[in-house]
């Protein structure tokens, strides 16, 4: 009944020995499956319990009720599409992960979806259930860093690979990084560093900034990074920094301060509903007519919610915007497949979900085994993968994907060619130079076993 019987001392020792052996095996080189003889592996996490049948299970937990429900539903569509593509051996999947035939290592991928209500507590609970009941071999999903950080810890403890989906905090692959988690999306540091030069280039030097900062780690980090980058690049100064608690419903008092600050540019770091509310209200206060709005870390569906009229001329940093299909062929394939099913163009949550699953499948295929240590090591080889935003690779030191940041600018309503055509892609900023040194944010990956 209890798969954790393996926790008794003898098998622990066996794991350690196996781990030592594996370290040697890794040296044998890339290109080949790291270890084809799955039968040799000791039990670890849900291996081999979760891989003994003809299918493997993925646990997906995103918010479906509460503040981030819209983003959560978008992620789910991305996951479902990816898993469908995996099981059918779709061309797009094949081009990201060339070894993929049908399923992963010949096994069908099954999945379960649970509502996290955007609460870490609920998410941990749901994922724990997927791990213990469904023997999930991989878990994924998040719209907030609080959930990502919480599940990071769970993944490390349970020895199950976790792939967060939307999480902007530096901590996710910084001080709260874990061996068992890999982040695909951009984050505070790269967002700030990517958009800075674009702003100086387009808006000029010596501007005054008004910040709208949500009062939690992510918000303060982005604000600091942006402030430093803009000061050194273009001599920009801060006119005011308006801090609001998470879940603020009325920004009018903050906006009054912004309106009276004499700033040229409003940098709005709020995410989700806070972002929607603050932008709409900024418009009402006439602020957007006098100042340029910048969203360094853009929320999926923001333009749809606030309307093209307000978003025109707004600079935003994002993980993915569908019109990059003009530059990247895989994006076009993805958009088409997604649009066919859902009749709207995917947002970046859906793309992140899709790419996470595809890159995981690639790592598993390269490892030749579901044995978590092998899979992690396959990830850590840092092999370049073709993605919807061009070639990308994972940094082995902190498990952060090195990937470009897309800078977009809101279109005039008249210039939109379709209902979803809200932005022009201004620049696709190469990700490598944007990133901090791997240890700069205190990342210490845990042990493999």
């Amino acid at each position: 009944m209890d798969y954790r019987d393996s926790n008794d001392p003898p098998s622990r020792r066996r794991i350690l020995q196996a781990g030592a052996g594996l370290a040697g095996a890794t040296l044998l080189g890339s290109g080949f499956p790291l270890n084809a003889l799955a039968a040799d592996k000791p039990a670890l996490g849900n291996y081999p319990a979760g891989t003994s049948g003809s299918s493997v299970f993925i646990g997906i937990c995103t918010p479906r009720t509460g503040t981030y429900a819209a983003q959560g539903e978008d992620e789910i569509k991305g996951y479902e599409l990816a898993i469908e593509h995996l099981n059918s051996g779709n061309e797009l999947m094949h081009r990201i992960s060339p070894r993929i035939r049908k399923g992963v290592l010949g096994k069908t991928v099954k999945y379960g979806i649970a509502d996290s209500e955007a609460k870490p507590n609920t998410a941990v609970q749901a994922q724990s259930r997927f791990i213990s009941e469904n023997k999930a071999i991989m878990i994924s999903g998040s719209v907030s860093s609080a959930v990502a950080v919480a599940i990071n810890k769970l993944a490390e403890r349970e020895k199950v690979i976790y792939l967060p989906c939307i999480t902007g905090s530096n901590d996710t692959t910084g001080k709260d990084c874990v061996r068992y988690s890999f982040r695909q999306c951009f984050y505070a540091e790269t967002a700030a560093n990517a958009i800075g030069p674009v702003l100086v280039k387009n808006l000029g030097r010596n501007k005054k900034i008004a910040f709208l900062t949500p009062d939690y780690t992510y918000g303060h980090t982005v604000r600091q990074s942006m402030q430093d980058a803009l000061a050194s690049l273009g001599g920009w100064t801060v006119a005011t920094n308006q801090i609001s608690p998470l879940g603020t419903t009325d920004f009018s008092s903050h906006l009054l301060n912004v309106a009276n600050s004499g700033a040229d540019v409003v940098i709005n770091i709020n995410f989700g509903r806070d972002a929607v509310l603050s932008i709409k209200q900024a418009k009402q206060f006439g602020i957007l007519d006098q100042m340029t709005l910048v969203m360094p870390y853009n929320t999926p569906f923001l333009a749809k919610e606030v309307g093209a009229n307000i978003m025109q001329g707004v600079y935003a940093g994002t993980d993915y915007w569908w019109t990059v299909q003009d530059r990247f062929a895989l994006a076009k394939l993805f958009n088409e497949a997604f649009f066919k099913k859902h009749n709207y163009m995917p947002e970046w949550g859906a793309n992140s979900a899709y790419m996470q699953v595809a890159m995981w499948a690639d790592a598993v295929e390269r490892a030749g085994s579901f044995y978590p240590v092998d899979v992690i090591k396959a990830y850590e080889q840092g092999k370049t993968v073709q993605s919807t935003v061009g070639p990308v690779h994972f940094r082995p030191e902190d498990h952060q994907l090195v990937r470009p940041v897309i800078i977009v600018k809101g279109k005039k309503p008249g210039a939109m060619k379709s209902a979803d055509d809200y932005y022009d892609v201004v620049e696709v900023v190469d990700g490598g130079p944007l990133m901090q040194k791997p240890d700069a944010f205190g990342c210490k990956l845990g042990s493999y076993t």
């Binding site: 509460g66 503040t67 429900a69 801090i243 609001s244 419903t249 009325d250 509903r273």
Partner: protein, 291 residues
């Protein structure tokens, strides 16, 4: 940071916030005062008003139609709830009433989510109230000025209803002495139905009037509900003037505190409530009657 122009504008802003809170709270308070039911689904009514109004706007593209349809829908929804469920709880302990309305609140929120999804919806401000108005010392969104006026009219209408009509007499009598209204017999129950509907409508009306200011989502009612509680406790449970006064005080506290440190604005609101409870346990304008 502290200058007079800013201070005055924040005070003004507090007035806008407060007016809205006052309207929602008076809905809660007249329901409680008359029926003795604390309606935890009141936040859901606020949200429902927003959605009904938004739907009406989508078809009519008229702000006025949206406001009228939103309010009427919530009036009907309130009466429906009262007839089908709430009325069976008059004879039960107050805790049961709290529990059932709490559950109904969840059901309503999730029904709306099921129907309209979680992406926020917004209703634009009417043509005549878009843009900003310069008040000399400050600029201010025209629609927010309009909100103060609209809410003031609504509060006046409620005042007339409560203090100038037969229905209002019964309602106020109920607030003073619940048993007396109970003693009025079966007729009082029709009054209960109407009062529940009107109370819900006050929240629904606020919900649609607020929609151009803050886009509506299924979860929008939750935060409002808690602030409404604070307003009602400060003003005095069951007191209509108390709800208005409490609303304005709460609005000013939220606004003025956020001028110094927004992180404390909610905290200060609750601190003010605690202070009022210690100094005047029945609220500023409350009486011992119903509470």
């Amino acid at each position: 940071m502290l200058n007079w122009a800013n201070f005055v504008s924040q005070c003004f802003n507090g007035l806008v916030l407060g007016a809205l809170l006052a309207l929602i709270s008076s809905g809660l308070t007249i329901i409680y005062g008359t029926l003795g039911v604390l309606n935890l689904a009141h936040g859901a009514m606020f949200m429902l008003g927003g959605y009904a109004g938004w739907l009406a706007y989508e078809y009519s593209h008229s702000y006025v139609v949206a406001v009228v349809a939103g309010s009427l829908f919530v009036l009907v929804a309130g009466i429906f709830l009262e007839r089908t469920i709430i009325r069976f709880f008059y004879g039960r302990p107050p805790e049961d009433q709290i529990l059932v309305t709490f559950g109904l609140g969840i059901v309503i929120v999730e029904l709306v989510r099921l129907g309209f999804g979680s992406l926020s919806k917004s209703v634009p401000a009417p043509e005549w109230a878009t843009g900003i108005t310069s008040l000399g010392f400050m600029i201010y969104p025209t629609y927010r000025l309009a909100v103060v006026a609209i809410v003031a009219v609504a509060l006046l209408a409620l005042y007339v209803l409560l203090y100038r009509t037969r229905l209002g007499m019964i309602v106020r009598a109920g607030i003073e002495d619940a048993q007396m209204v109970d003693a009025l017999g079966i007729n009082a129950y029709r009054v209960f139905m109407v009062v529940f509907g009107i109370g819900a409508m006050a929240a629904g009306f606020a919900g649609i009037v607020n929609a151009p200011v803050a886009p509506i989502t299924p979860d929008i009612g939750g935060d409002i509900l808690v602030q409404t509680f604070v307003v009602v406790v400060i003003g005095g449970v069951g007191s209509f003037p108390g709800a208005v006064l409490g609303g304005l005080i709460a609005g000013e506290i939220l606004s003025i505190t956020s001028m110094f440190d927004p992180a404390y604005s909610q905290v200060m609101l609750f601190a003010a409530m605690t202070l009022v409870l210690i100094v005047r346990p029945y609220g500023l304008l409350g009486t011992q009657g119903r509470a």
